[in-house]
Symmetry: C2
Subunit: 121 residues, 2 copies
DNA sequence: CAAATAACTTTACAATGTAAAGTATATATA
DNA sequence: TATATATACTTTACATTGTAAAGTTATTTG
């Protein structure tokens, strides 16, 4: 955490933080052997164009490995997390957890409004 | 959660999800009686221009109440969460928690990489 | 063989985050 | 008491980027 800016959340990498890409990465970490273009499309509820561009961004950032091949006669793209991608995503998740702890743990955040919060029963 | 798109994370309201505004809201929920422009500026490590614009966005969305007055002879702006803002932020936090649970709870996310994860010791 | 479908990619646009410049007032300084 | 500097913001202009519509290539289907 930045010395004087406890709420700056520097670790929230923009490449990961974007909603659509957060969906993609979460999908991928739940499927270690990768997911096809169409599986991602429906899991994340993204249009073809969006998914294509977001996957490209993730690939350029080295977070996702994209494999283009053929399934029968049709092109078939598979995406999977790279080791670096997995690590960076984990780092991001740790920062997310800090956000949650800071916010949900605040005095003015009444527990009843955050039912299943971090604190175990 | 959307029926067929478990990883779409529809509840991640863009107005809140943006990094700088997430900082501002987290600061504000930790300070129920509000924060001044300058306090926010240093807590969130934002420039004057950024803070001004982001606060305006939050105000227009009805999440934050902005009070402009004078402290001695100098202008003094105070920001505080509105009740609606608090509720929406809580909703957002619940969705964030879903992200964390989906991701950190995934089989391929080894526990050691997420040290202080959701699961209690 | 024409039309439609599949699996993407490219492009163009609109939204938006950011920082530099601007404004207005107050205080310090020479 | 001018002049300069500081305070507390706001406005503007730019550059990035998320999004959807249109385009591409190949393959089925009627």
């Amino acid at each position: 955490m930045t010395a004087d800016a406890p709420f700056a959340f520097d670790g929230l990498d923009r490449v990961i933080h974007e909603k659509a890409r957060l969906s993609i990465l979460t999908s991928l970490i739940s499927h270690a052997d990768g997911l096809s273009f169409n599986e991602l499309k429906s899991l994340c509820a993204l249009t073809d164009g969006n998914l294509s561009r977001h996957v490209a961004v993730l690939q350029e950032a080295g977070l996702v490995a994209v494999t283009k091949g053929f399934e029968g006669n049709r092109p078939h793209t598979t995406c999977a997390l790279t080791p670096a991608g997995r690590q960076k995503f984990m780092d991001y998740l740790n920062e997310l957890e800090r956000v949650l702890k800071n916010a949900a743990g605040a005095p003015s955040a009444s527990p009843s409004t955050v039912p299943g919060s971090l604190k175990p029963a």
